[in-house]
């Protein structure tokens, strides 16, 4: 039988769909936090790619796991910084809509 869970292409296609979901969410969401959530989807897709290549192709099976751990750390740092930026933007503009934060345009 076809083992879906033991096939590299399955994981890669799931990761592609996560990337597409994230990009679509970036376009669709009208708030900074919605865009942050979509960015997390893109990062999850990238981590899944690394883990899949690590499991099926890489000579050293620790490398992909370490890389995925680094991505998790980066995502945590990014989320902390973005949320504090959103707080500041909300404090200044009373809105977290990217379209209303346009001081640099004038």
């Amino acid at each position: 039988m076809l083992m879906l869970s033991d096939n590299l292409n399955t994981y890669l296609i799931i990761a592609i769909l996560l990337l597409a979901l994230g990009v679509f969410g970036m376009v669709r969401h009208k708030t900074f936090i919605g865009m942050l959530i979509s960015a997390e989807f893109i990062l999850a897709g990238a981590s899944l790619n690394f883990m899949a290549f690590n499991r099926f192709l890489a000579p050293n099976p620790a490398v992909g796991q370490i890389f995925t751990l680094f991505i998790m750390g980066l995502a945590a740092a990014e989320a902390a910084v973005v949320v504090s930026l959103v707080l500041m933007v909300y404090h200044q503009y009373r809105s977290i809509d990217p379209a209303e934060v346009h001081d640099l345009q004038h």
Partner: protein, 176 residues
């Protein structure tokens, strides 16, 4: 004995469904809090996929860091932000733009997917090491020591920066 493999396969399909259900909720949610819950659901599904990829350690880390920490941070960001009724799709995308963006994403996914299907992936001839936590820890301490330290400095800088940025925003104008 063969039943175990069917059960594992069923769990894999369930985790994949969890990922995409969460993604659908996070993308179409009207309120941001529902979107965060969808994100947590999808990341739980990704943790299950890590388990299938042979790394229970990373599955646990995914639940701890992403579901436990990142989602909570985002939920806090929403709670101190605007009220839900201020956020409800007041300028939602028109159907034309939705179709265009779905088309663009689908085209990109189709291109990448065709690449994935066409490429012949060659596994490494020989494997060194294993998937165990002990080996990961040794690699982190010896081979990737510098990157490990850099990530910790980056986390520290991000936390301090986040506190400073949020602190500046809280000050009264004209006080400093």
């Amino acid at each position: 004995m063969i039943y175990y493999r069917y059960i594992a396969e069923l769990l894999f399909v369930l985790f994949t469904l969890l990922v995409f259900t969460g993604g659908y909720i996070a993308l179409t949610a009207r309120y941001l809090m529902n979107a965060v819950l969808g994100l947590a659901l999808a990341l739980l599904g990704v943790a299950g996929l890590y388990f299938h990829l042979g790394s229970p350690f990373l599955a646990l880390m995914q639940i701890l860091i992403y579901v436990g920490a990142v989602c909570i941070i985002i939920a806090f960001g929403i709670m101190v932000g605007p009220r839900p009724n201020q956020l409800a799709d007041k300028r939602a995308m028109g159907p034309r733009n939705v179709c265009l963006s779905i088309g663009a994403c689908a085209a990109a996914a189709g291109l990448l997917g065709s690449l994935v299907v066409q490429t012949v992936w060659v596994p490494a001839a020989a494997k060194v090491g294993d998937m165990s936590v002990k080996f990961i820890g040794e690699s982190l301490m010896y081979q990737y020591c510098l990157a490990f330290e850099l990530i910790s400095v980056l986390l520290l800088a991000a936390i301090v920066g986040a506190i400073i940025i949020a602190g500046i925003g809280r000050e009264e104008p004209g006080k400093c």
